[in-house]
């Protein structure tokens, strides 16, 4: 089975570039040169240097003993929360900012949900001295205030998206509209494995460092580079794609992606796209999305601002359709309890997004010899308000 993108920009039935003509020159420019740029020695030298000395990679692969004991298996946490800016998002923004420089772009735009991608983008723009404009849903600006402050401190302009549900989907719309209006000097750093080809492929390539390191680290710690389970949470799906990337062809490794079920899959307040979605076009690619019979996009809901996206990246849609990855739905409550458990047992406060992946451990019938790796995609500092309200802390 082939899980990779083909020369037309498709993963099976999904992907492509469903974009207005206004974006065609930019996307075409990117499509024809991104691989040459990324594979060039001059790019790689700078990229690797920044990952090591600025981001702090490789991120540790930590054997979580107390979680292991609780679940009766050997559990490792891939500590993306220890990256500079506190999440996996920076792996991608570092790559894309160097790319944008090579493309001669002077202005950077990005969308953000939880604010982690916005912070990661503002960070690399400060690093490179480029103008930075971040679109963020009005609702998310309220629930992720510390991240908004971080972006501003690093010189970014944060523009509220006030249309629709005023969350990630709408911020993405606004960023795309900005790009349409500023086609020449601007590069759009998409934060997830979504959007028109080549974005899903490019972002997963930058995030694939997660699974690349995991394999090496797991080998040195266990003598095998292949665990039994690999788990990650999915909104658009970038940390999951990075975590799965080098395991896709290892068919004996079970890949599990945790989606946000919100108040429950059938509650009408959910973001469990793989269950609730149907095939269609969202933000420039053919994928699975939550929509009405008439093709109107349904507003998603999740307690976590990073997972309430009505679609999933096209490669996830493909991996779901061919059943290479198992998609499970985790409710708000399950994710919150998993965050508390991880904090209590390991002294690690994860992001609520990550809590969804941790909660998926509950539903696996582990054998004692099983090894599971979870992508600890981000830290929970940004979610303290939500934790305080939820747990009455």
């Amino acid at each position: 089975m082939n899980y990779r993108v083909n020369e037309k920009g498709y993963y099976g039935d999904f992907g492509g570039a469903y974009i207005p003509e206004m974006l065609y020159p930019n996307i075409e420019d990117l499509r024809t040169c991104y691989l040459d740029i990324i594979n060039s020695p001059i790019f790689q030298i700078e990229y690797q240097d920044l990952l090591k000395n600025y981001v702090g990679r490789p991120s540790p692969l930590y054997h979580a003993e107390r979680l292991s004991k609780r679940y009766g298996a050997t559990i490792y946490l891939k500590r993306e929360d220890l990256n500079h800016t506190g999440a996996h998002k920076i792996n991608n923004t570092i790559g894309q900012i160097i790319l944008a420089e090579r493309l001669g772009k002077k202005r950077i735009i990005a969308e953000t949900g939880a604010g982690q991608h916005g912070v990661a983008t503002a960070t690399v723009c400060a690093l490179k001295g480029l103008e930075c404009v971040i679109y963020m849903g009005e609702v998310d600006i309220k629930r992720q205030a510390p991240n908004v402050a971080r972006m501003k401190m690093m010189g970014a302009t944060v523009i509220p998206a006030t249309s629709g549900s005023k969350t990630l989907k709408d911020a993405t719309n606004e960023a795309m509209r900005d790009w349409i209006n500023n086609p020449v000097d601007t590069h759009y750093i998409i934060g997830s494995v979504v959007g028109p080809h080549p974005y899903p492929e490019m972002v997963s390539l930058f995030q694939s460092v997660i699974s690349e390191e995991t394999k090496t680290q797991l080998f040195s710690q266990t003598g095998s580079s292949q665990p039994d389970y690999v788990l990650a949470c999915v909104g658009g799906g970038s940390n999951a794609m990075g975590m799965f990337y080098h395991f896709l062809d290892d068919e004996n490794v079970q890949l599990i992606a945790a989606e946000a079920a919100g108040l429950g899959v059938n509650s009408g307040h959910s973001a469990a796209t793989s269950i609730l979605g149907r095939e269609g076009v969202l933000h420039g690619s053919r994928t699975i999305l939550m929509q009405t019979d008439d093709g109107q996009v349904i507003e998603p809901y999740s307690i976590s601002a990073g997972l309430d996206y009505p679609g999933i990246g096209p490669q996830h849609a493909h991996l779901h359709k061919v059943k290479r990855v198992k998609y499970v739905a985790i409710t708000d409550d399950e994710a919150m309890q998993a965050c508390m458990l991880c904090s209590k047992l390991e002294g690690i406060i994860p992001a609520i997004e990550t809590g969804h992946a941790l909660a998926a451990l509950e539903n696996i019938a582990f054998k004692k010899t099983d090894v599971a790796v979870i992508c600890l995609s981000g830290r929970g500092d940004k979610d303290l308000d939500t934790f305080m309200n939820y747990f009455k802390l």
Partner: protein, 259 residues
Amino acid sequence: MNTLQQLFQRKQNNILSVYYTAGYPKLAATLPIAQALELAGADFLEIGFPYSDPLADGPVIQKSSEEAIANGMTLNVLFEQLKSIRPSVKIPILLMGYANPMLQYGVENFCKKAAEVGVDGVIVPDLPLHEYEEFYKPYFEDNGLSNIFLITPQTSEARIRKIDDLSNGFIYMLSSSATTGKSLNTSDDISAYYQRVKNMNLKNKLIIGFGISDNASFVRANQYASGAIVGSAFVKTLAGKHDYLAHIDAFVKGIKEGV
């Protein structure tokens, strides 16, 4: 030959097309607005089928789309309404909207239905050229529908030629790379772009859209193209008025004649 192609045989310049969102400001407004626009002197119509996430549109059409959806507009409702549009409206009619609602309806079904009710063509900004060619072209052709493509100042000459080859109605020439509802770009660069495309002697007529909002911008566009399209400015005229139909005549005359 559909009525759109007939129009271009008959009329070579000062063609005015007006865009509006179906189901806005009232669900039942689709037909009365079409009739009023024809009476007022519009040469053809673009009826928008609303989408929740209109990427190429500015705030005015975003809002009209949102309200139209809230009013209950769907493709099923629209085709039901359009059943009786012919022959009460005789000018060419295009449907304009985004790929996802059309894909959910089924592109083949959509094209059949559109032809059945007397639609001449379709504009879907996010249905790309190669997808159209590879998957959908026969559906449009079998039903005699013109598919209209957009070009911008950044579109390469080779691509414009290709679009010209694939087009059988007109080429929708954007006044700049922009979302709808921005003011007209009047820089020298833009005049050079208009002139450059004009000099290509394309087989299809050029109609300029995006940023046409008054007589001055209409006249200017017609120096380089066969006509122009007004969208946001018209939708704005309908907004918040109970007697919106009463304003249509003055709006159209204002654009065409500056009165």
